[in-house]
């Protein structure tokens, strides 16, 4: 999952440093919206602005954890 997220976000947000220690700090509102939409579409979940916290967007690993949590909730 992590590799797929990196691939998707590298294409959608080519200027964002996905390896940053604090990914959230690299993003603006458009970047966050792009991630919400991209990840929701790819993994069949519904991420909304209520899921956006610095913790959930701290790193790609944090995004993986968020997605997995959403998938489990949906089951």
């Amino acid at each position: 999952m992590k590799e797929r997220i990196i691939q998707l976000l590298s294409e959608a947000l080519p200027l964002v440093d996905l390896d940053s220690d604090f990914l959230f700090g690299e993003l603006d509102s458009l970047g966050i919206t792009t991630i919400l939409m991209t990840v929701s579409d790819e993994f069949g979940i519904n991420l909304t602005y209520t899921d956006v916290t610095p913790r959930n967007f701290k790193s790609v690993d944090s995004l993986v954890a968020l997605i997995e949590k959403k998938q489990q909730s949906a089951q």
């Binding site: 959230f24 700090g25 956006v52 916290t53 913790r55």
Partner: protein, 577 residues
């Protein structure tokens, strides 16, 4: 140097500054979940006056709750001040974002009686103040902008006492607006925290009475203040913290950083504001100075915030305390900030207070106990007008020359845009007030470029200072129409943003990359003498050398006027206070 003579806070936590401070010291807050029984608003967390508290406030017998709130706070503060309030050397400065807008639905035909300037005039009259009041409508930074205005007018010896009162009441208008922006947290807010997800709203009134001479009863003074614009976006802060960094740097130039006990931050707990503030703190090398934010106790009290949070910080430093940041647990921003959820001791005697807001404005003030020598010599100033533009439903003039415009009336500003400007598509997203101001500014700058034959790049030394009487009434009514009918409840974030009149100053700053001061003042009526005094006081500072300034009012499609100028600082004659 401007001296504090008295203060008051009136909030859900108490009726006096001391009551409020004691409540915060004990970690108390009145933030709670609010539900709308009509089903129009989503649940939200806010700090609001109770029905009993409102009954007490409304005993002031003022026409609107907003005026009653301000009057209550001001009268409480005046009990500890001693001067003739009817003197022509006394001015009232009100800081508010939306004033009495909650009464607008029932009074749209007589909306002029609810304009912020009209409310301020009634407050002044009830208090016995004989001079014209000024309302600072500069979005979230209004409170500090009001303190800075007071300091300038006092330093210029135009007045001896300034009553600065910040107040705002919450209601459907503001709550639905912030909900449409997805800016609210459903739970108590968490400034700078890793789990933060939005702000809470609050209501309060806070009053500072400032004077030209030291007060025996009060040890505090405001030494310096600065306002700078991000020139980035009207609702999103600059990711490089451009405006906040400049405003803080401006007030720190000649200060001893070692004596700064703390930095009281804006700390709204929105994703991007807190991130931006951390960048400013890091860039300026201030990461080791203790910092805090107080919106975890009160929510965002809008026009009251700057005054309220300054007063609380004075009381805290008097008590050798840096109040804890309620709601904070783990740092969730890029820049390192010295925050704690716990109260901490301090022996230092000065602090910085900063705010940021819609329109791209950022404000910072330095406040100290009167042990430090005044550090900012007052410099008298005068200015010359280099270019003038007048736009009304019937005419467009630049430097006295009439422009041949293809349309009159309401379409005139857009006709001017299409004929003479036509290279800024963002024009079409602006509201009527912003379009009028934008077009007027563009014509001024075209005239300036023709005059000088070169492109003079103003960075931090050009301000945008505008005045009007009707605030943002057109957008207010338009927004109200989107929320008034429960069967058609569609609050529009893009309309809501323009219900702050200062947004037009931000639009001009963004277009021209002006990082100087941007301010918007609402007056009871057009008063060129008062406008001149305010402009001179702004140009008397060391950093503003010119301004796009003037009257910009859009009451409706048949009543609008832009009478704006480019003004340039003239000879300077230094004198010290």
């Amino acid at each position: 140097m401007t001296y504090v003579e008295a203060d008051n806070i009136l909030s859900p936590l108490g009726k006096t500054s001391d009551d409020n401070y004691r409540a915060l010291l004990a970690g108390k807050s009145m933030l709670h979940t609010c539900s709308d029984s009509r089903g129009l608003l989503e649940d939200y967390t806010a700090s609001l006056f109770s029905a009993d508290q409102w009954n007490d406030i409304l005993s002031e017998d003022a026409p609107t709750p907003f005026e009653a709130l301000a009057l209550s706070s001001i009268r409480q503060a005046l009990q500890n001040a001693d001067f003739d309030i009817s003197s022509p050397r006394v001015i009232l400065i009100i800081s508010t974002t939306k004033g009495a807008v909650n009464q607008l639905p029932a009074h749209q035909e007589t909306a002029a009686s609810l304009y912020p300037g009209a409310c301020a005039q009634r407050i002044a009259t009830r208090l016995g103040i004989t001079t014209k009041p000024v309302v600072v409508c500069n979005a979230c930074i209004s409170g500090l902008a009001a303190v800075i205005l007071a300091q300038r007018l006092l330093d210029a010896s135009l007045y001896d006492h300034a009553i600065v009162c910040g107040a705002d009441c919450q209601g459907d208008f503001i709550i639905s607006g912030f909900q449409s922006l997805k800016a609210l947290s459903p739970t108590p807010c968490r400034p700078f925290d890793m789990e933060r997800n939005g702000l809470n709203l609050g209501e309060a009134a806070a009053t500072l009475i400032l004077g030209s001479h030291p007060s025996q009863a009060h040890p505090w003074a405001v030494t310096h203040g600065a306002i700078r614009n991000d020139a980035y976006h009207v609702t999103t802060p600059s990711r490089q913290a451009e405006g906040l960094s400049r405003s803080i740097a401006a007030i720190l130039q000649d200060k001893d950083k070692n004596n700064i006990g703390l930095i009281n931050l804006h700390g709204t707990a929105t994703l991007f504001n807190d991130q931006m503030e951390s960048i400013a703190i890091r860039q300026l090398g201030l990461s080791s100075i203790p910092a805090n934010a107080l919106k975890g106790y009160y929510g965002h009290t809008m026009g009251a915030a700057g005054v309220l949070e300054t007063i609380l910080t004075m009381h805290a430093v008097d008590d050798h305390t840096v109040l804890g940041t309620r709601g904070f647990e783990e740092l969730g921003v890029s820049g390192r900030i010295n925050l704690s959820a716990e109260n901490r001791p301090t022996k230092k005697t000065s602090f910085l207070k900063v705010l940021s807001g819609f329109g791209g404005g950022n404000a910072a003030i330095h406040v100290t106990r009167k042990t430090e020598r005044p550090s900012c010599p007052f410099t008298e100033s005068s200015y010359t007008t280099t270019h003038t533009v007048t736009l009304s439903p019937h005419a467009a003039e630049v430097d006295g020359r009439t422009l041949e415009v293809k349309q009159e009336g309401a379409p005139l500003p857009t006709a001017v845009y299409r004929q003479f400007i036509h290279d800024y598509p963002k024009y079409y997203k602006m509201d009527a007030l912003s379009r009028l101001g934008f077009v007027a500014a563009e014509l001024l700058l075209q005239a300036e470029r023709q005059d000088t034959e070169t492109e003079y790049m103003h960075d931090g030394d050009r301000a945008v200072i505008l005045f009007n009487r009707s605030s943002s009434i057109c957008s207010d009514k338009q927004y109200l129409a989107s929320i008034q009918d429960k069967d058609n409840f569609y609050p529009s974030p893009s309309v809501f943003v323009y219900t702050l009149p200062n947004i037009v100053t931000g639009e001009i700053a963004i277009r021209n990359r002006y990082h100087g001061e941007t301010s918007f003042f609402v007056l009871p009526e057009r008063d060129e003498a008062l406008e001149t005094d305010i402009l001179k006081s702004i140009l008397a500072g060391n950093s503003t050398k010119s301004a796009i300034a003037g009257w910009l009012d859009y009451e409706d499609d048949t009543h609008f006027l832009a009478h704006m100028h480019i003004i340039e600082q003239e000879q300077r004659s230094p004198s010290s206070i």
